[in-house]
């Protein structure tokens, strides 16, 4: 079933044309505002994926919207390979039992908080609303 879906996606994906920023609906522009400057340089497929994400934006909770806005630019700056690797990690993480997952989550949050106190190289994730 997955193979069939991938085949269908490969067939239809090239049909989606690249969209200039100005042609996006205002709601999508608002959701994708953090990557406005990167938009033109994104591949068509990535633009299509980001538009799909923007369409989910109104359904998010305020906390989720804040995280979305804070992380979007960093996510867009990753290479397709890095994004794919992150997806694989997410899928693997989803299969871990919930209790263990919560422990790992806490450790990751502590590590992230420590990193935020001593910013290293790279683009740090901003947790507070500007």
């Amino acid at each position: 079933m997955r193979t069939l879906f991938i085949a269908a996606f490969c067939f239809f994906a090239p049909l989606a044309a690249a969209e200039p920023w100005s042609s996006l609906p205002p709601a999508e522009q608002a959701a994708l505002a953090p990557i406005q400057t990167q938009w033109g340089s994104l591949p068509e497929k990535a633009q299509h994926n980001f538009r799909h994400l923007a369409q989910q934006y109104p359904k998010l909770t305020p906390d989720q919207k804040r995280r979305f806005s804070n992380r979007l630019a960093r996510w867009a700056s990753l290479t397709p390979e890095q994004r794919q690797a992150a997806r694989e990690k997410y899928r693997a993480f989803s299969h871990i039992p919930k209790e263990e997952r919560e422990k790992i989550k806490e450790q990751a949050k502590q590590k992230h908080a420590a990193t935020m106190q001593q910013p290293a190289s790279g683009v740090p994730e901003v947790n507070a609303r500007p």
């Binding site: 079933m1 997955r2 879906f5 996606f9 994926n49 799909h52 994400l53 989910q56 998010l60 906390d63 989720q64 919207k65 995280r67 979305f68 992380r71 979007l72 960093r74 996510w75 990753l78 890095q82 994004r83 690797a85 992150a86 997806r87 990690k89 997410y90 899928r91 993480f93 790992i104 989550k105 990751a108 949050k109 590590k111 992230h112 990193t115 790279g122 994730e125």
Partner: protein, 115 residues
């Protein structure tokens, strides 16, 4: 030994007596009985379908399975369709949701991203 009368019902003998009696009935009575029998059979046929639907009538009844093995087959086909649909949606969501989940989840994104 006692010579008591045999009180047991002999079904075969009763049937023979009824058959013998029926042969002596008037033609008019035989015709009325035959007509009643035909009417009773017609009513039985009409009430026989268990899943006849009002409005759909006989066509719906023809489309529905009648025998146990047909019901089992229909259930298997339904199960395959439901399972297939569920697998398809699951794979679709798996493809679409990771990005949104990574971007909006309470797990820091750094945990997923290779540095």
């Amino acid at each position: 030994m006692t010579n008591q009368p045999d009180n047991r019902i002999d079904h075969g003998r009763i049937a023979a007596l009824l058959t013998q009696s029926a042969q002596h009935l008037d033609a008019e009575i035989v015709s009325a009985l035959d007509e009643s029998r035909s009417l009773a059979l017609q009513r039985q046929r009409a009430s026989d379908p268990a899943f006849s639907l009002i409005g759909f009538g006989h066509k719906a009844h023809d489309l529905l399975p009648h025998r146990t093995h047909q019901w089992v087959l229909a259930a298997i086909v339904l199960l395959v369709i439901v399972t297939g649909t569920a697998v398809f949606w699951n794979s679709l969501q798996e493809r679409q949701n990771p990005d949104l989940a990574i971007l909006t989840g309470d797990m820091p994104m750094d945990a997923y991203v290779d540095k």
